[in-house]
């Protein structure tokens, strides 16, 4: 593998940091150099957030710029559209179908674009979407949305399922292991 760039986007507070931490761990366990760039502070308060995960033989920059991401994992449909220009030609979008209205939409000053994921597909981009919240609830906790999406991404990236589950077991709190294992499987087997 040359190098791989993964963009993880969502709304502050959705649990994107755990997803990026796990993704980083999976790459390290497979022997690659890794950099993960996180967002802390102000944007975590319901703003648009982005985390970069980069892996390869040697990674210098922790950031991913326009047209550089192999994959985008998105926790919210509008955020998939916002960050789409970061995807490289032939890249894949893994997106939650959830729609969370941003404040300008709530206030009626802007419109939430209709069929936003279809608009991305129309651009010739491969989109794998799922109602990750329902799957997470099915696994036992609405908070497991991040692990469901990670499961979908792992399948697309051709990751070994057992290795991913080991990384999850080693990272999440003991009492949530079972829920997270189920969530991962539901995503992986989608």
């Amino acid at each position: 593998m040359n190098s791989i760039n993964i963009l993880i986007v969502g709304v502050g507070g959705q649990g994107t940091l755990l997803a990026s931490k796990l993704m980083g761990k999976i790459f390290i366990d497979s022997g690659l150099d890794v950099k993960v760039s996180e967002v802390h502070g102000m944007s975590q308060r319901g703003g648009s957030v982005v985390t970069y995960v980069r892996a390869g033989e040697k990674v210098f920059s922790p950031v991913i710029d326009l047209g550089e991401a192999d994959m985008m994992i998105s926790f919210e449909a509008l955020e998939s559209a916002r960050w789409l220009p970061y995807l490289k030609k032939g890249g894949v979008v893994i997106s939650n179908t959830a729609q969370i209205d941003p404040m300008p939409v709530i206030m009626g000053n802007a419109e939430y674009p209709e069929n936003v994921l279809d608009r991305i597909s129309e651009k010739g981009v491969k989109v794998v979407s799922a109602d990750a919240l329902s799957l997470a609830e099915q696994a036992g906790s609405a908070k497991a949305v991040n692990i469901v999406l990670l499961g979908i991404a792992a399948k697309q990236l051709g990751f070994d399922k057992e290795e991913c589950l080991n990384a999850i077991r080693a990272t999440v709190p003991q009492k949530t292991i079972e829920t997270n294992e189920k969530a991962f499987e539901l995503g992986y087997n989608l």
């Binding site: 993960v36 502070g41 990674v59 559209a81 789409l84 941003p102 206030m107 674009p113 936003v116």
Partner: protein
């Protein structure tokens, strides 16, 4: 040796641990906060949250006097607060080694300006190291302590958002205990009066000359500075994050002079490197400090000519500036509404702001989560400058405009920010017979930086119980007779109390007290719901700016309010907005 994927900030903490540091005092500030949070996990290191950065640095200076290796961390603007002790600590030097980490925020992810901390290093004549990844963050921290003791100077460690908040692989090792150095009274060294300071200043100038020699020689042996030769066409001088961006963007199409010490800068190494390449670029975010240094050396470089002083760089910016290349990308053809950060569902600040909205007040604002109330729809802020300015600037505003203005104006300041630097402004109001009304938004935590304990909440950095500052007693002790406490979720009482206090020809302190909704021990009510048959779609409830309430379109193109049960914490502030009683609390709440 064990390898770990650490944040730059965690790697600094690991470096402190390995360097045998034993006293750490900091004030939280994005992007520096996690250093001290990580330090608090080590039992071998004493750590604390100080009330502000000046206190933190003075604690570190005192611990150094006492013979310990000491440390403080802050964000860039925090160093303005701590500048006073830093500039004189530079003259005094150290006993135990002392390092201050300062984290800049190019691009202002979470800050009110994007000042360049290298300016402080130059002005204070304090040496500064700048790592470019987590491994260097750890290594440079340790090197800084050795140099601090060898050259008798405090050291600055410059970080930036990308270095502080990026994870990369780090090799960790064991802690090397460092014995407490002997303390000896030395008035000539440690008491700065004019006679001593004149001598000290000369010593400081010599020290910086010595460190320039170090930057040209040993810095290269240790790998703090590094020359990487691949091309004789293009040369790059860079430090910290800009080095990794350039290295990624240009690969082996350029040669690099990577600087790990950014004050003082090497001289000979730069002149030598310049001779090895045809075109030399300096790549630095924010100010053109290295470029100016090169010009002084008579070295021809390209810098500001192609690189902006604004914001954060990345590999594409560098590639475009040097090669003119641009990457292809796709975009959807529709407007994408912005998603600015907002007050969380259940946030107590929302209740306070909504309660006071109809009073049309001038609101002197401050730094914290509550600054988010400046945005629509709450729009409850006129000014915001820096930590603590809400209180003193309100006094200035009211002094300029008179008592009628004072009856239509308030300051809003959080609990931690009030302790940081709001108290002195309040004393100014009382002492100088002002009549301003100040509101402390006491949510029992330092919120925006991610929940740190503070002197008002009765818990130490480790969560152990301690004496809490009694805010009401404090206000009375400085001479405020009108001290009122309100619950911001009680909209009517909050509004009435603030109106009463505004009407008085005396200063008042109103404490709006309710813990942050994100605290684990805070119990929430069940999610509210909208009874659709009662809602007429008037949108009054949207004026509280709660992300849990939105509007949905019905088939007949009318709209109705809808509450997202996954987000709503049942605070009830929106209930007050609905004259039709359409927002309901579930039964058996």
């Amino acid at each position: 040796m064990e390898k770990k994927l650490l944040l730059g900030n965690e790697a600094v903490a690991q470096g402190l641990y390995e360097a045998g540091v034993s006293v750490v005092s900091s004030y939280p500030g994005t992007p520096s906060t996690e250093i001290t949070e990580a330090v608090s996990k080590y039992n071998e290191i004493y750590s604390e949250w100080a009330p502000n950065e000046k206190v933190a640095m003075e604690v570190a200076i005192g611990a150094s006097f006492g013979g310990a290796r000491s440390f403080c961390a802050m964000k860039h603007v925090g160093l303005n607060v701590a500048a006073d002790p830093l500039y004189t600590a530079s003259y005094i030097g150290v006993n135990g080694g002392m390092v201050c980490a300062v984290a800049d925020d190019p691009g202002m992810h979470s800050s009110q300006n994007e000042q360049d901390s290298r300016r402080h290093a130059i002005a204070a004549k304090v040496p500064m190291l700048e790592p470019s990844d987590s491994q260097e963050a750890l290594d440079f921290t340790k090197i800084a302590y050795d140099l601090s003791e060898r050259y008798d100077t405090p050291f600055l460690l410059r970080l930036s958002t990308r270095i502080s908040h990026s994870r990369s692989l780090v090799t960790v090792s064991e802690r090397k205990e460092v014995a407490l150095k002997e303390y000896k009274r030395d008035v000539m060294k440690n008491v700065m009066m004019p006679a001593m300071a004149r001598k000290a200043h000369a010593k400081v100038e010599d020290r910086m000359d010595d460190l320039t020699v170090w930057a040209d020689t040993e810095a290269f042996d240790l790998g703090v500075n590094k020359e990487e030769l691949f091309s004789d066409e293009i040369g790059i001088i860079a430090a910290g994050s800009t080095y990794v961006y350039a290295r990624e963007a240009l690969g082996e199409k350029a040669s690099y002079l990577k600087l790990g010490i950014v004050n003082p800068l090497p001289r000979k190494a730069i002149c030598d490197f310049a001779k090895k390449v045809k075109t030399l670029y300096v790549i630095e975010e924010l100010d053109d400090i290295i470029e100016t240094h090169c010009i002084k050396l008579g070295v021809k470089v390209i810098g500001r000519e192609v690189f902006s002083p604004l914001g954060e760089y990345n590999q594409s910016i560098i590639e475009k500036a040097i090669f003119g290349t641009k990457k292809e990308s796709v975009a959807v053809e529709c407007d994408i509404p912005a998603r600015p950060p907002v007050l969380c569902p259940g946030c107590p600040h929302r209740g306070l702001y909504y309660a006071l909205k109809s009073l049309n007040l001038y609101v002197s604002g401050d730094i914290g989560c509550y600054t988010l109330g400046a945005q629509a729809p709450l729009s409850m802020m006129d000014t915001c400058v820096c930590m603590g300015a809400s209180v003193s600037a309100l006094h200035g505003y009211n002094t300029a405009r008179g008592s009628e203005a004072a009856k239509k104006s308030i300051a809003v300041i959080g609990d931690s920010t009030f302790i940081h630097s709001g108290i002195t402004g309040l004393i100014d109001i009382v002492y100088n017979k002002g009549i301003s009304t100040v509101i402390v938004l006491d949510n029992s935590i330092t919120g925006m930086t991610g929940h740190q304990n503070n002197p008002l909440n009765g818990k130490t950095i480790k969560g152990d119980p301690t004496t809490a500052v009694d805010l009401e007693a404090l206000a009375k002790a400085i001479g405020i007779t009108n001290v009122r406490v309100v619950d911001p979720f009680d909209i009517k009482t909050t509004k009435a109390v603030v109106e009463e206090e505004l009407a008085k020809e005396e200063p008042s302190l109103v404490i709006s007290r309710r813990p942050c909704a994100l605290l684990k021990n805070v119990k929430h009510n069940k999610a509210l719901y909208v009874e659709e048959s009662k809602c007429v779609g008037c949108k009054a409830c949207l004026k509280v700016g709660c992300p849990a309430i939105s509007q949905k379109k019905l088939e007949n193109s009318k709209t109705r309010a809808v509450i997202d049960a996954n987000q709503c914490l049942g605070c009830g502030v929106c209930v007050e907005t609905c004259r039709l009683g359409a927002i309901k609390t579930p039964e058996n709440n």
